[in-house]
């Protein structure tokens, strides 16, 4: 409180500047989002329309639901690359349940439970057998989707009840979709869990120093187990929404979505090596990715160019702080 001491520079805190940058990450990202929004409004006469913007949110809501859970997982130093395949398996299970006469509530339960089970499967290999999560989930990525292919082949499950369409095609009020509501609720829950609870502090501690966390009395493996369960559960939620939106299940559903989810998390300022990141960052990153793809789509920019742009955005956002630190260090020496 008392400001009697003059400000000092301590040599071993060379990264204080980068640290400040990290702190303002969300502000930066928000500026990018606003810039993209403004440019889009000028670039296309169709951008500023409530219904069009509402349609555009489908580009990111399902991915973002998983991204929140994935953010916690990555902050803790693990990763789950099987999320898109969990969607495929959960959706296939819902389709199977449908064949046996399940109604909408049962379908939702089946989707969520299968998501949880897949998460638990990953968790057992990572936390109990101690295998690296990237290896385990690359394996389950093929495994889960493989099961869907065995069950479905080149066929599809269709004929979901019309009440089931509410999740992916329904509107709460005017242009506000059911998926948007899920997005907001899930964002708030994960924001509170990560930033306001002991559990959230434990996640950061594990990501920064798992051994230190263990000796501080944190049950590291249990926390990680829960995080994998949550990621599986969120994949189940996304599976319900996506299946409802598509109105059918094919084994190729959500193909390649895992990388878009990870991109969203990293763009949101979560350190891919664990230890730092925030939920507001991921929320803004979701909007940035959604606005960019929708804006470019309105200009009929080919998808290939779009992925180049997303790739550049990601590399730029990761590389620039590092570059900045290096330049700052050189300037000082």
């Amino acid at each position: 409180m008392s400001d009697t001491l003059p400000e000092r520079r301590i040599p071993d805190r060379l990264n204080s500047r980068a640290y400040r940058l990290f702190r303002s990450w969300e502000a930066l990202l928000l500026a990018v989002a606003i810039a993209i929004f403004v440019v889009n409004s000028f670039a296309s006469p169709y951008f500023l329309s409530a219904w069009n913007l509402s349609d555009a949110t489908f580009n990111f809501t399902e991915k973002a639901m998983i991204a929140f859970a994935m953010a916690l997982l990555i902050i803790s130093g693990e990763i789950d690359l099987s999320v898109a395949s969990i969607i495929a398996l959960a959706s296939t299970a819902m389709g199977l349940a449908l064949q046996y006469g399940a109604g909408t509530p049962e379908l939702v339960v089946v989707g969520l439970v299968v998501g949880l089970l897949c998460g638990a499967f990953n968790a057992v290999f990572v936390t109990i057998l101690g295998l690296p999560s990237i290896v385990v989930t690359i394996g389950t990525m093929s495994l889960f989707r493989g099961i869907s292919y065995i069950i479905l082949g080149d066929d599809a499950f269709r004929g979901y009840p019309s009440s089931f369409a509410w999740f992916g095609q329904g509107y709460i009020y005017w242009v506000f979709t059911v998926e948007m509501l899920f997005f907001v609720v899930i964002a708030v829950i994960y924001g509170v869990v990560l930033h306001k609870t002991n559990f959230g502090r434990a996640v950061y501690a594990i990501g920064n120093n798992p051994t230190g966390a263990l000796f501080s009395g944190i049950r590291v493996q249990r926390v990680k187990f829960i995080l994998f369960l949550l990621t599986g559960l969120m994949s189940g939620v996304a599976a319900v929404c996506l299946t409802s939106r598509l109105g059918s299940t094919r084994p190729s559903i959500a193909q390649g979505m895992e990388l878009e989810v990870v991109t969203m998390v990293v763009l949101g300022g979560v350190n891919i090596l664990g230890g730092s990141g925030s939920i507001p960052g991921v929320v803004i990153a979701a909007f940035v990715m959604g606005l960019v793809t929708f804006g470019l789509g309105l200009l009929n920019v080919p998808g290939i160019v779009m992925s180049i742009f997303i790739g550049l955005l990601l590399i730029g956002v990761i590389a620039l702080p590092r570059l900045w630190t290096m330049l700052a260090r050189r300037a000082r020496s």
Binding site: L28, V32, I36, D55, G247, L298, G303, L313
Partner: protein, 331 residues
């Protein structure tokens, strides 16, 4: 840092803005949505669409699609087309059912929706354009053989598997029209299981069992290539003509060596052309896509719709020495 980011974002978007074609609002905008960009077959279809646009005069073609063949990617593309309020969407679907909700929304907002090549379930489109029909294909494969046998002769069929639905229907349709080709006798039907080596052995076996064999009909892209190779290896080029359904890129060698006089498959240029013409008719000329309707499609004649509002464009397109070079690089 923040300036950098903004620069990147705005620079890229500005580039995109300039790259986008200047939009003339009174043009009729027809979107040709394909399974994925960067596939030769669809690039050729886009070429056909441009041809139709030129013929019609006031049409702008938006050729678009996702980067990989997913339904989700196509839905994002369709959403952005709905947002632009295009006049018509002609889609080759990655998924029969998953596109239905998105396309229904497009139709609710007054956009004409048709599918071509790979169809959408009836409730998600106004009509579907098939490249050809089973009966046209069945007729074509025997006609290809008969055209080179004016005095009649012995032909054999090399199919895929015994349970291949498409091939079985085509052979059945072929048998129905055999009466139109007097003197042509089908001496055997064998199955290569769509495996190159088994098809090769079956073709070789046919030539040994029937020394007077004049033609092998393979209504499968794997079988036709293998059969052509078998004919070359047996030194029977000129005696046994291999024909059926194949891909120009794979059959170019067989046409060159003379093992195959001609073969057939759909023509993607015609397909893109017809899809554009149909979309234009429905969206601009008030044509109703009801069962039984006959809809004009420029130089390709008219499309007659069946009970599912589906129609067949034309006979499969015949490829021979005169046009193989043009198409072998396309698909």
């Amino acid at each position: 840092m923040s300036v950098f980011d903004k620069l990147i974002a705005s620079a890229a978007l500005a580039t995109a803005m300039f790259a986008g074609p200047a939009m003339a609002q009174d043009d009729v905008r027809i979107a040709l949505v394909v399974k994925a960009l960067g596939i030769g077959f669809f690039e050729a279809a886009a070429e056909g669409a441009e041809e139709a646009a030129e013929e019609l005069g006031n049409v702008e073609i938006i050729y678009t699609g996702p980067t990989d063949t997913t339904a989700e990617g196509q839905i994002e593309v369709i959403n952005s087309l709905i947002a632009q309020n295009v006049d018509a969407i002609a889609v080759s679907a990655n998924d029969t059912d998953a596109l239905v909700p998105a396309l229904q929304r497009a139709m609710q907002r007054g956009i004409t929706v048709i599918s071509w090549d790979s169809g959408v379930a009836p409730e998600g489109r106004e009509l579907h354009l098939n490249p050809s029909s089973n009966s046209l294909i069945g007729n074509m494969i025997i006609k290809l053989a008969a055209d080179h046998l004016p005095d009649g002769g012995e032909v054999a069929v090399l199919s895929a598997t015994t349970t291949s639905t498409n091939q079985n229907i085509w052979i059945e349709e072929m048998n129905k029209v055999m009466g139109n080709y007097p003197g042509i006798e089908v001496v055997a039907t064998v199955y290569g299981d769509d495996l190159a080596d088994k098809s090769y052995r079956e073709a070789t076996g046919l030539m040994q069992s029937y020394p007077d064999l004049d033609a092998i009909i393979a209504p499968t892209s794997v079988g036709i290539v293998a059969a052509a190779q078998a004919v070359v290896d047996a030194g029977k080029v000129g005696e046994v003509n291999v024909t059926g359904l194949g891909l120009p890129s794979e059959m170019a060698g067989a046409i060159e060596s003379g093992a195959s006089q001609s073969f057939a498959i759909w023509n993607p240029i015609d397909l893109g052309y017809s899809a554009t013409m149909l979309a234009y008719e429905l969206s601009q000329n008030g044509v109703e896509a009801a069962p039984g309707a006959e809809i004009p499609m420029g130089r390709m004649g008219t499309l007659t719709l069946d009970d599912n509002s589906e129609g067949a464009m034309a006979d499969p397109f015949v490829y021979d020495a005169s046009n193989i070079d043009q198409f072998k690089s396309i698909f």
